[in-house]
């Protein structure tokens, strides 16, 4: 495997983030609201926010890893 492909081999580890994102967003949503609809709505938006935030950092680190 060429060295620049090595970061791709690590992508499968990102799946470990999924249960954490689900758990964190649901608990956080539940601490901001009392009813189910706003809890789930808040949790969904918060999960998307986390995914976007992590994706930006992933891309930045992935690109940086090419020059290191």
């Amino acid at each position: 495997m060429t060295s620049w492909l090595l970061p791709l081999a690590e992508i499968n580890r990102l799946w470990y983030a999924v249960p954490l994102i689900v758990s964190i967003s649901l608990v956080y949503g539940a601490t901001r609201h009392e009813l189910w609809t706003p809890i789930l709505d808040h949790a969904l938006r918060f999960a998307l926010w986390i995914v976007v935030f992590m994706s930006i950092f992933f891309v930045v680190l992935f690109l940086v890893s090419w020059w290191l």
Partner: protein, 188 residues
Amino acid sequence: MANKSAVGYYEPVDVDLKNPVTAAFLAFLWPGAGHMYQGRYGKGLLFMICILSTFVFGYTIGGGKVVYAAFKKPDIRYAYFFQAPVGLPALPALLQSGRAARQAEPLFGGFMAPPHVPEHAQDFDELSKWHEDLGFYFELGTVYTIVAGMLNVLAIYDAAAGPMYPPPPPKDDEAPTDKSTENDDSTP
């Protein structure tokens, strides 16, 4: 309590917190128990499932080695301070830590017992062996269990004080604040 259909997204809902101190203590002991005590069964169940499954998943992928309490150099387990708020599920580590300090044999087959600390550099280092065996999963399990502990801090707060409602979004058609009407009691 207000009519459910009329409750807006950002509108607070009346919650009977009963005795907040008791609720917070129960929420600390067992995630979701404080909410069950208050009759908030749905949220209690949600907290219980999310927090306990995160903790158990982390403990399992960490080979059952990632939750232990150690307070003496060279191995001070700082992670335990963040795992401990998950309550009873993490408390056996304290018991085992006390027994280890008294040089007593660990209970329950070493469940949540701290690793043996070598007295000399050339002696067997159990913690290093755990890291060697588990590698990435030791850190991952530690992260999961820490997150579970921190999430229960949020749940404890929710049991003690109710939901932290976000501020309402500004309305587009809202007129600029007029200072002359700010202190007018008749304004809703």
